[in-house]
């Protein structure tokens, strides 16, 4: 009599315990799976003799000097920055105007057009249209220029950017603008005083999102830029471990870390600052 209730009570508890243990093991595996490759990124640059394997480093910062010694390394960061800032500027300005206009003007088929472009952009960007893109840029005489990379990536990201920003613009009550209009504000004043400040979180998000896209984008500059001194860090990084025979791990590890840090920092800062997540953010 007394055993039965005891066992009945124990079974759910045991089951609960087992599921707890399984969950902890599962989470540990997740940590290892995602953490292991990253471990190298944070240890190797500080090791005086970095190897491909992860090991406790003999602490030194000398690897970072290798970046200065490389002919193209510093320049490639500048290139990445130029392309990144350039694309952000183009995308933000054009995206803000376009999304504001699209949000306020009633055009039949507007949403359909936007979805179509969105779909196209997620299919086409880079890969499927690489041949005509290459040709087009060639035709425009823009091969080996940063402008080409900026324009191509902007064209590919703008649909998404407009989509995101339009959502923000849509959420601004019309009465805000009407109120400003009543006091005689001109459209540009409304944009400056009302629309831009209120959609600032959206603009910040879009800026960072674009930067993440551009900073890591490999295919477009790889396709359009042939001269080494023009190449951004993403492409140069690749050549470090494919073209120079025996890879220089000191250079490679330090370069990889410095290349990764800005984008990681920015991502997490914006995440915290504006209290939102990349809810469905796209990084292709």
């Amino acid at each position: 009599m007394s055993e039965m209730p005891a066992r009945l009570a124990a079974t759910p508890r045991v089951r609960h315990f087992v599921s707890r243990v399984l969950m902890v093991i599962g989470l540990a595996l997740v940590v290892v799976f995602f953490g292991l490759p990253l471990l190298w990124l944070v240890t190797a640059p500080f090791d005086s003799v970095p190897t491909l394997a992860v090991s406790w480093p003999e602490w030194t910062l000398s690897s970072f000097a290798a970046i200065g010694e490389n002919r193209y390394a510093v320049g490639s960061f500048v290139n990445s920055a130029i392309i990144g800032v350039g694309t952000c500027a183009v995308v933000l300005v054009l995206g803000a105007f376009a999304s504001y206009a699209l949000s306020r003007v009633r055009i039949p088929g507007r949403d359909g057009l936007l979805y179509a472009l969105l779909l196209l952009s997620s299919i086409v960007t880079g890969t499927a249209a690489m041949v005509p893109t290459f040709q087009l840029v060639n035709l425009l005489g823009l091969i080996d220029t940063h402008l080409a990379v900026v324009l191509v990536i902007s064209g590919g990201t703008l649909p998404t950017v407009i989509f995101i920003l339009k959502d923000f613009m849509d959420s601004i009550p019309k009465s805000y603008e009407e109120s400003a209009r009543l006091y005689g504000a001109r459209p540009w004043q409304i944009l400056r005083d009302v629309v831009v400040p209120i959609s600032r979180p959206g603009l910040a998000f879009v800026a960072v999102w674009t930067l993440v896209q551009v900073w890591g984008n490999f295919l477009v500059p790889y396709l359009l830029i042939r001269r080494t001194e023009q190449q951004p860090a993403a492409v140069l990084m690749y050549t470090f471990y494919t073209e120079s025979g025996q890879a220089d791990l000191r250079l490679l590890s330090a370069f990889a870390l410095i290349f990764s840090i800005p984008i990681i920092v920015m991502y997490f800062l914006v995440n915290r600052r504006y209290g939102f997540r990349f809810h469905g953010g796209i990084k292709s």
Binding site: A98, A128, V131, F134, L158, M237, F276, H279
Partner: protein, 293 residues
């Protein structure tokens, strides 16, 4: 608005359309046909469809999409989101940070991290497993890029499903619990029906992205001997190093058509299953809509 549309038109829509024309020429990167390409009609398509390399690439791509995208990223992403749903504190932030970091760091860095991890001689994996000398990238190239892609892309599904799970009305879960439903039953009866739209969106986007991703090129360059040459890499190898721009464009078009079929297929499914919620979330997430939390 006009300048933005012009830019989109020039660098997005126009290349897509031009692919159609290019695919019917014998345009090459160098040589006589570079100056004066001639129209060859559907010859390119005939050649591609008769080329076993294309069919192998297509098969590899489908395996890649199915295993790394639909199964790997989606399921792992959902599992992590589900496990983290109740968790708070350092473990949650650790896992989120790791998964997101893998997603955010530039592709050329993450690919090298995996090259280092899987290296034949000094790789960490071989050291851990004690399998010195195993050349993972050569012996199991497909497995390598599949796992690599799961590593890189799981963050998206994790984020999408976390927000989807947060939106499941607690009252529904509570009433299921009061009816005596266990974890699995809650998942099946309450959670899945509630987030069906998100699942569809996630699968659609993951499929398209995985189908088109070029990043595995950085790990294996399609090798060895095309053993991991998915379509995006195949196009690149044909068009740029191979110099056959016309043929590359023709494959691109085939790829675009497959994409279109996939997208339309998903939309049909979405519409068939009571379109409203699915469409709404598709609209939301396709744009990467941000919700201030």
């Amino acid at each position: 608005m006009a300048p933005a549309l012009a830019l989109i038109g020039l660098f997005l829509v126009f290349p897509a359309l031009w692919t159609i024309y290019l695919g019917m020429t014998d345009y090459r990167l160098t040589g006589l046909q570079a100056v004066d390409p001639s129209f060859v009609g559907l010859d390119n398509y005939g050649r591609i469809l008769g080329d076993p390399a294309f069919w192998r690439s297509l098969r590899l791509t489908l395996v890649f999409v199915l295993v790394s995208g639909i199964i790997g990223q989606s399921l792992l992403g959902f599992a992590i989101a589900w496990a983290l749903r109740r968790l708070t504190g350092w473990l949650k932030s650790l896992i989120e940070t790791l998964v997101l970091a893998a997603w955010v760091i530039p592709a050329s860095v993450s690919s090298f991290l995996w090259i280092a991890l899987l290296d034949r001689r000094g790789g960490t994996l071989n050291e851990i497993l004690g399998t010195e000398g195993t050349a993972w990238l050569i012996e199991h190239p497909m497995a390598a890029i599949i796992i690599f892609n799961v590593w890189v892309g799981t963050a998206f599904s994790m984020l999408l499903f976390s927000s989807a799970l947060a939106a499941v009305p607690p009252s529904q879960l509570e009433s299921a619990r009061m009816a005596g439903a266990g974890g699995w039953q809650q998942l099946r009866d309450v959670v899945i029906p509630n987030i069906r739209g998100h699942i569809l969106t996630n699968t659609l986007l993951i499929t398209l992205w995985t189908f088109n991703t070029f990043t595995p090129y950085l790990v294996t360059a399609g090798g060895p001997n095309g053993a991991s040459e998915i379509l995006a890499v195949y196009i690149y190898n044909t068009a740029i190093p191979g110099g056959q721009l016309g043929v590359g464009a023709a494959i691109s078009l085939i790829m675009l058509l497959i994409n279109l079929v996939i997208a339309l297929g998903y939309l049909r499914v979405g519409r068939a299953r009571q379109a409203k919620p699915a469409d709404a979330t598709a609209a939301e997430t396709a744009g990467g809509v941000v919700k201030p939390s």
